[in-house]
Symmetry: C2
């Protein structure tokens, strides 16, 4: 039986929505979950739900790592935090994987410290799914785990991202590209150009350089986009900022006119489609690839659907033995 550890304490809006998502995963997807956090609080919230009690356990954790805590210090000093406790029950094989909507840096640091890396992995990257207009998401690897990446890190990101895209999003022969400042082969910086040469030699479906616009389906068709985590973080936050700003303008102008209010009402399905277009909830979170255990990192504002999706992805990763596959491919390709 595969159990998934769910840190229910570290989300922006408290444990209730997280627990709701976990219970939905149990009831609708047959998942088994260990809810990690303050036992009493979790117990009380659970009273509101119906579920198979054989499939839900509680792991007490008395502390919470805050969004503003220093990751490297917090994971060492707050040993009884929900993030560290969730990691520990993956490390001791009670669970196959974990999900946390908390401090990204701390979740990453905890996974690196207590799970360690898969043999051969140089730097575990964050693989973030970017929703597309149609079909499965595109994966951005690395979405922020590592700065100052070397070319061989990027080559490994390509291999790991390709496996993830293939096994979890069922893309037969994922197209892999490098994020660059132009499509032509000679465009890039020193690191991306060297990585280009390394990835070109791998037996994967490499489509070469891709541009920023390709991330949102406005250009080259690509399934996995590799980049330095410094860039991945900036790009994701920039597009998040832009979409927030667009919805702000929308909300403000609608407030100011009753005509616009009627218009918005009639356009509701359309605006819903746009929101969905930008909604990561369906994919649950970003996967920290290359650590020895499954670790999914969610938005602080994860809703019940995001939690349920993340639990589903964790189980699928374990079922498909994604980590064995990563170790095998890196060895086979000798990178």
């Amino acid at each position: 039986m595969m159990w998934v550890a769910v840190d229910v304490m570290s989300g922006d809006y408290g444990p209730e929505k997280i627990i709701e998502g976990a219970v939905n995963a149990v009831n609708q997807d047959g998942a088994n979950v260990v809810l990690v956090g303050k036992e009493e609080e979790i117990g009380e919230i659970l009273l509101k739900f119906e579920y198979d009690t054989n499939k839900v356990r509680i792991q007490h954790a008395s502390e919470i790592i805050d969004m503003n805590d220093s990751p490297s210090i917090a994971v060492r000093t707050l040993q009884d935090s929900s993030i560290v406790q969730a990691t520990q029950i993956v490390a001791d094989k009670t669970c196959v994987g974990m999900f946390s909507p908390g401090n990204t840096g701390a979740t990453m640091a905890s996974a690196l410290l207590y799970l360690g890396r898969i043999p051969g992995v140089l730097r575990p990257p964050i693989a973030a799914p970017i929703p597309q207009e149609n079909g499965p998401p595109m994966l951005l690897v690395d979405a922020g785990a590592n700065v100052d990446c070397k070319p061989d890190y990027l080559a490994q990101f390509a291999v790991m991202g390709e496996i993830y895209s293939k096994l979890i999003f069922n893309i037969l022969n994922p197209k892999v590209g490098i994020l660059s400042n132009g499509e032509e082969d000679k465009k890039g910086n020193t690191v991306s150009l060297k990585a280009f040469e390394m990835i070109k030699k791998l037996p994967i479906n490499f489509v070469g350089n891709v541009e920023g616009r390709d991330l949102y389906g406005s250009g080259k068709d690509v399934d996995v986009v590799v980049c330095d985590g410094f860039i991945g973080n900036i790009v994701l936050k920039a597009t998040e900022g832009l979409s927030k700003s667009i919805f702000n303008v929308l909300r403000e102008s609608i407030k100011q006119s009753s005509l616009a209010q009627t218009g918005a009402l009639l356009l509701k399905p359309t605006l819903g489609a746009i929101k969905k277009r930008l909604d990561y909830a369906e994919y649950g979170g970003a996967l920290l690839l290359g650590v020895d255990g499954i670790c999914l990192i969610g938005h602080g504002s994860s809703n019940a659907l995001a939690v349920q999706s993340a639990i589903r992805v964790a189980v699928e990763c374990a079922q498909h033995q994604i980590n064995d596959r990563i170790a095998a491919d890196l060895k086979k390709y000798n990178i």
Copy 2:
């Protein structure tokens, strides 16, 4: 009298819209323009407009550099192209500045080759204005001119961007930040952290690290954001791709339902506000900072308003002697 050279041939949609923008600049802003391109074609189009003939000249250029031409080769071999000819009449001081909606790399290469750098400038960056919900635009420096930037390049970008923001967008004491993967001082990569230390020592209003979301007003208040051109290019293209994709979803769903069509009609002012929010036309183009002459680079799809705005910015840059100020400040700060 200050003349501005306008490359009318290199836009995506031919010379007419470009010429219209230039004529508007003459009629509405009192500008003096040299239209650079095929003399006969320009002459014919000019017949459609009324304007003071003392304020419009034509500089014949028989060739056009294509969007797909290799910049470094094109600017050497296509000497009679509109881009090179426009640059030449800035180099020989006939004009104070130039605007081209053509091949960005070629415009940049032409400016570097024929105008050269202002004394002391290490690498001229592209300063791209990013529209904000209210007030003047934010400047992203470098939006794509240089990859593999060193810390001292970034420090110079900060100085040049600050001057541009102050003189042209009338911001009294522009807030300058470095684009990074987190707001805390210790966040960054090797280059950005070193640049942070250098910029901190300059007598400018340095606000430290800013994040991707801050580019669209969703966070820290900042007027000038400094980054490597590799990153600037990727971020701008990603947000461009996202906004295109949002409007695609909107257009598609509106097509499919008459209710949505009515809704869109009622929401027209709102959608207009959002479009404006994403519209660079008001600012005309991006300025190549640090070359010895004013060089504005427009979108290939520049409309008449964008051209008119770019001409206005070119004149203002010359009036405010922005380049003398750059040379003086770099010398004064000894960077």
